[in-house]
Subunit: 191 residues, 2 copies
């Protein structure tokens, strides 16, 4: 999506250790007007799919998910994180490996909020190694619901997550796909 | 706010240990259409105040904050939580006592996202003992910005937070104020 590439992700946004700094509009400060434009684009891409619910993961997915959900007129469910989740009968759980934070954690969703009739669109801010997205898909599968697709703001296409998820026959739509990035070369997008 | 009292907070929503269950629309599943109506009400209450930014705290404040920010056409900043925050020069920090989770944690905001010219509206889902709200006000004070007020979805008026914050001369607008609640009596609102 050109406005995302032009206005928000640029060479000045690469910090130390090749971390993309999107704190100013996406995951600390949220530029709600701009993110709402991204939500409109997700709606254009998935509006024919009879979406009944949007699923995301706390915390930085929630803003994008809510601002997208308004176009679909559906609720958002956000998976919660916990270091360990006791085995309750009324939740679905899945494991996530966070490479950024170098730890494993569990996510969970209450069973009452996903059911077998749901057509679910997953929305998240980043796709890199795909661990969080795989975990969300696993929750949906456990509920017997359908994963219609995943709407991602920024995909680090130089990492394997996109391929892993697409190989599961899940439609992935990323608004910006980064081919490579470094302090020297800046941000290079997939053409 | 009558629609909140009538449609969403009712006697069936009191769980074990007198916990108000608002998972179905506010802090696990987010009923985005309904929450957007609450956002409109916050806008009606604070629109004359020249708000430049909305501040909230992860995770369950983010949805309400984003859906409110659209009416004001301002960005949202959400304070992040961490068990301990190293002393960085570029963040403001404050301590929060969570009575629900029986632990103390720190919240932080990057200095670049609050500055002395900001007129800040705080938005949060709950006000009970007031610890999170006090911490957010402290971050705003540290930045030399102005706290215009706090918009709260549900205030547990039988706890002391509302009085503490109002005694600091901060305007608090709660859309529902609960006077008392129990499995026996149900939910009783302040008149």
């Amino acid at each position: 999506m050109k406005i995302l590439e032009d206005r928000k992700i640029n060479d000045g946004q690469i910090g130390k250790g090749n971390v993309l700094k999107v704190d100013s509009f996406l995951n600390h400060q949220i530029d709600t007007g701009f993110i709402s434009e991204l939500g409109k684009e997700f709606y254009r891409l998935f509006k024919g799919e009879n979406i009944t619910k949007i699923l995301t993961i706390e915390a930085s997915g929630i803003g994008v998910a809510c601002l997208t959900a308004q176009y679909f007129n559906v609720p958002v469910v956000f998976a919660k994180k916990a270091p360990t989740v006791n085995i309750y009968a009324d939740i679905y759980t899945a494991k996530v490996n966070s490479f950024t934070h170098k730890k494993e954690y569990e996510i969970y969703v209450s069973k009452q909020f996903i059911n077998k009739d749901d057509n679910i669109l997953i929305i998240d801010d980043f796709l890199a190694k795909g661990s969080a997205l795989s975990a969300l898909i696993s929750l949906i599968n456990d509920a017997g619901a359908k994963t219609v697709g995943a709407g991602i703001v920024i995909e680090k296409a130089f990492q394997e997550g996109g391929k892993i998820i697409r190989d599961m026959n899940v439609r992935v739509e990323s608004l910006a796909r980064i081919k490579e990035m470094s302090e020297e070369k800046g941000v290079v997008f997939c053409s």
